[in-house]
C-alpha cells in the first residue's frame, strides 16, 4: 500500500466480488461509493434502522439528517461494521467494509473519547496512519510528516505538541478531522463533525470537506443543522428509522420530506419555490424524545 489517493475501486471490487460468492448477483455499479441494501439494525427490541436502502454516488458531499434517535449514528456505524445488522448489507466501492478498510476513514463523535488521555495532538493524528502500517511496524518520519501535513491542512500545525485536554471543542474536532485525513481514504464517514464548534472552525471544516469532494472523494456527514444543508452539501439522506429521502439536495430537501422525517412538529417552512426554507429556528432541537430514561423508575 503506498497510500496514494488514486486507488482504483474497480479493481478492488472485482477481486472482492470474486472472493464473495453471494455478491455475484449484485454487480457493483461503478459510480457508487456506498450501497446500503435492506439494512435493519435493532438494539434489544427497538429497531433503530428499518429496511434502509441507499445509494451514494462517488464524489458527493452528503449530509445525513433526521431527528434524535433516527439512527444516523447507527447508519454510520453499520457502514463501518461497528454494529452488526439484523439484516441487509453495506458495500463500500462494491465490496464489504472489511475488505475496503483502507478506502474508508472514520471521524467519531468528539464526546466518544476521554480527552484527558495522556497524548499530544500529533500523536492522535498519527493514529490515522496506523491502519496502513500493519502489525509490528512503528510510525516513522514519513508518517510524522504526513500527520504534520494534515494538521497544517486543518490549521492546527502550531498546536502539534499541545496536550489534547488543552484544546477547545473546535480544535478537538479539527484534530479528529486531521486524523481522518491522514488515513488518505476515498470515503469519509463523519459523525457530527460540526457539533458544538465555533463559526470559524465550521467554515474551515466545510472548506476541507469541499476540497475532498473536489478530489473525487465521497464524504458522508451526520449533520444537525437543517438550515445549512443546502449551503454546505450537494447530497442528502433524511432518516427517521426508515429512509425518508435520499438524493441530490435540490430534490431531497423538500418541506414534505422534512415533515415526514421530523414528524408533524416542524412548524417552520415558509418556503420559496426552491423548496428551501428561508428560516428555521432551532431545528436541531426538534426531536423525537428518545426513550432513554432508566426504565425502572415509574
Amino acid at each position: 500500500m503506498d497510500g496514494s489517493p488514486g486507488i482504483k475501486p474497480h479493481v478492488v471490487s472485482a477481486e472482492a466480488a470474486a472472493g464473495e460468492p453471494d455478491s455475484t448477483t449484485a454487480t457493483p455499479s461503478p459510480g457508487l461509493a456506498i450501497e446500503v441494501s435492506d439494512l435493519t439494525v435493532a438494539y434489544h427490541d427497538r429497531p433503530v434502522l428499518w429496511d434502509v436502502d441507499l445509494e451514494v454516488p462517488a464524489g458527493v458531499l452528503m449530509a445525513v439528517a433526521g431527528p434524535n434517535g433516527a439512527g444516523k449514528t447507527t447508519l454510520i456505524k453499520s457502514m463501518l461494521g461497528l454494529v452488526k445488522p439484523a439484516a441487509g448489507r453495506v458495500l463500500i466501492h462494491g465490496a464489504p467494509y472489511r475488505e475496503q478498510r483502507t478506502l474508508t476513514a472514520y471521524v467519531p463523535q468528539r464526546g466518544s473519547v476521554d480527552w484527558d488521555f495522556p497524548t499530544q495532538v500529533l500523536d492522535v493524528v498519527m493514529m490515522g496512519t496506523y491502519g496502513k502500517l500493519g502489525w509490528l511496524r512503528r510510525p516513522g518520519e514519513k508518517q510524522r510528516e504526513q500527520a504534520m501535513h494534515c494538521l497544517d491542512r486543518v490549521g492546527m500545525a502550531d498546536f502539534w505538541r499541545r496536550q489534547i485536554s488543552h484544546l477547545s471543542g473546535g480544535q478537538q474536532q479539527r484534530v479528529f478531522l486531521a486524523r481522518a485525513l491522514a488515513q488518505d481514504a476515498q470515503v469519509y464517514l463523519m459523525d457530527e463533525p460540526l457539533q458544538g464548534v465555533d463559526a470559524t472552525t465550521e467554515r474551515a471544516i466545510i472548506d476541507i470537506l469541499r476540497e475532498l469532494r473536489g478530489q473525487g472523494r465521497t464524504v458522508v456527514v451526520v449533520h444537525h443543522d437543517l438550515q445549512s444543508i443546502p449551503e454546505y452539501f450537494d447530497w442528502l439522506t433524511l432518516l427517521n428509522v426508515r429512509r425518508i429521502a435520499s438524493g441530490p439536495v435540490e430534490s431531497a430537501f423538500t418541506p414534505e420530506n422534512l415533515r415526514r422525517a421530523y414528524g408533524g412538529r416542524v412548524a417552520f417552512l415558509s418556503s420559496r419555490e426552491t423548496g428551501i426554507p428561508e428560516k428555521s429556528t432551532a431545528l436541531s432541537d426538534v426531536a423525537v424524545p428518545p426513550d432513554e430514561k432508566p426504565d425502572w423508575v415509574r
Binding site: D114, P118, Q120, D123, M127, Y130, W135, T200
Partner: protein, 376 residues
C-alpha cells in the same frame, strides 16, 4: 546496614522490583480505561484456580498452581465482560459479583480439601497477604522471564494498545481486532497479578496495578512516559518496601510496598508540576490577582475617560472602590499597581493611570473585541 544487602534481601527486592515494574506499566492501561479495579477482581478470582490446580494435579510446584490461578483469573474477567456487554448489569457490579463469587468458590474448595487427611496445602494466609520472604532465586528468574515476555508484547502491540485505550471504535474501523487485543491485554494483567499473589497477596495486588499508574499520570502527558514512569514507580515502591520490611522487625512486605506506593500517589497528586494540586492552587492565585489588578485598572480607565479634561487629574480610592464589585479593599491592589508602574499617585489621595497602564487596558479591550469576532 550490612544485613540489608544479604542474599535474601536482594532476592526479595529484585522480585518486588520486577513485579512493581510489570504491574505498574500494565496498570497504566487499566487506569486509563477506567478499569482500575480489574486487578482486584482478577486476584480474587484466581483463588479457585489455584486450589483446583492443586486438587487436580497434586502438584506443589508454583508454576502449576500459578497457571491454574491465571486461568481462573482470566475466566473471571471473561465472565465480567460477558455480563457487562450483554446485560444491563454494569461493569462495576459484574466485577464485584465475579470477585466475591469466585473467591467464595475458592474458599469452598479450600475448606473441602483441607478436611482431607492427606492435604498439605499452604494456608490461605499466604494467598491473602503474600509471603515475600518465601521468594526464591528461581522465582525471581521466572519473574524476569515473564517480565521480558510482557514488555516485548507491550512493545510489539504498542500502537494497537494505545488505540484500544484511547478510541476503541476507531481501532475497529482501522481493522484492528480490538476484542482480541483486549483479551491479550487482560491476559497480561492477569499474569502480572498472579505473579504478585505470592509476594503481596490478593488484596494488595490491586493497589500495585492502580497506584503507580495513577501517580505517573500526574507527571507527564505522554502515554509512553507514563507507562515507563509507572513501571519505575512500581519497581521503586517494591524495592523500598522489601528493604524496609527486612530492616524493621514485624513489618510485612506486601502492605509496606502498598503504603509506599500510596505515598508516591499522595506526593504526585499534590506536588506534580502543572497538574498537581499545589501548581493548580498557585495558578489560580496568580489568575485571581491578575483579574483583580485588571479590574482596578479598567475602573481607573473608565473614570478617566468620563472627563475630557486635557489636564491630568486623579481619582480617589473611594471612587474606585465604589465601582468595584465586592472585590475587597482596593488600597492594596492600587499599591501593587503602583509597584508595577501601572498606576501612580496623583497628589496624596488620588490615583491615575500611567502610560504603561493605559496601554495595557487598551490592549485588553482590543483583545476582547477581536475575541468576539472569532470565537477562538
Amino acid at each position: 546496614m550490612l544485613s540489608l544487602l544479604n542474599h535474601t534481601t536482594v532476592t526479595i527486592a529484585l522480585g518486588a522490583a520486577i513485579l512493581g515494574a510489570v504491574s505498574g506499566s500494565l496498570g497504566s492501561f487499566a487506569v486509563l480505561r477506567r478499569q482500575s479495579l480489574v486487578g482486584d477482581a482478577i486476584s480474587h478470582a484466581a483463588l479457585p484456580g489455584l486450589v483446583a490446580a492443586y486438587i487436580l494435579t497434586g502438584a506443589k510446584s508454583s508454576l502449576v498452581l500459578l497457571t491454574g490461578a491465571a486461568v481462573a483469573g482470566l475466566l473471571g474477567m471473561l465472565i465480567v465482560m460477558l455480563i457487562s456487554n450483554t446485560s444491563r448489569v454494569k461493569f462495576d457490579s459484574a466485577l464485584g459479583l465475579v470477585l466475591s463469587v469466585f473467591f467464595g468458590l475458592g474458599l469452598v474448595l479450600l475448606t473441602w480439601i483441607q478436611k482431607k487427611p492427606e492435604a498439605a496445602m499452604a494456608g490461605l494466609d499466604r494467598f491473602l497477604f503474600g509471603q515475600a520472604a518465601a521468594l526464591l532465586r528461581r522465582d525471581v528468574w521466572m519473574f524476569a522471564c515473564v517480565a521480558a515476555v510482557v514488555f516485548s508484547l507491550l512493545a510489539a502491540f504498542w500502537k494497537e494498545f494505545k488505540i484500544l485505550a484511547f478510541d476503541r471504535d476507531y481501532g475497529v474501523s482501522l481493522g484492528m481486532p480490538m476484542r482480541s487485543l483486549d483479551i491479550i491485554l487482560t491476559g497480561l494483567v492477569t499474569v502480572a497479578i498472579v505473579l504478585g499473589l505470592q509476594t503481596v497477596g490478593v488484596v494488595l495486588m490491586s493497589a500495585m496495578i492502580v497506584a503507580p499508574a495513577a501517580a505517573a499520570r500526574q507527571w507527564t502527558n505522554r502515554l509512553g512516559r507514563m507507562v515507563l514512569l509507572a513501571g519505575l514507580f512500581g519497581a521503586g515502591s517494591g524495592v523500598a518496601g522489601a528493604v524496609a520490611s527486612t530492616a524493621i522487625q514485624r513489618l510485612p512486605t506486601g502492605p509496606t510496598i502498598v503504603l509506599i506506593a500510596g505515598f508516591v500517589v499522595l506526593v504526585s497528586v499534590t506536588a506534580a508540576p502543572r497538574r498537581g494540586l499545589i501548581a493548580e492552587a498557585l495558578r489560580r492565585r496568580h489568575n485571581r490577582q491578575k483579574l483583580r489588578l485588571d479590574a482596578v485598572l479598567c475602573d481607573l480607565f473608565e473614570l478617566e475617560s468620563q472627563h475630557e479634561l486635557a489636564t491630568p487629574h486623579g481619582h480617589t480610592a473611594q471612587a474606585i472602590q465604589a465601582m468595584s464589585f465586592g472585590e475587597g479593599p482596593v488600597d492594596k491592589t492600587l499599591a501593587e499597581l503602583e509597584s508595577r508602574d501601572l498606576a501612580a499617585r496623583f497628589g496624596s489621595e488620588r490615583w491615575t493611570l500611567t502610560g504603561k497602564g493605559r496601554q495595557r487596558v487598551e490592549r485588553m479591550i482590543h483583545k476582547l473585541e477581536s475575541g468576539n469576532r472569532h470565537e477562538e
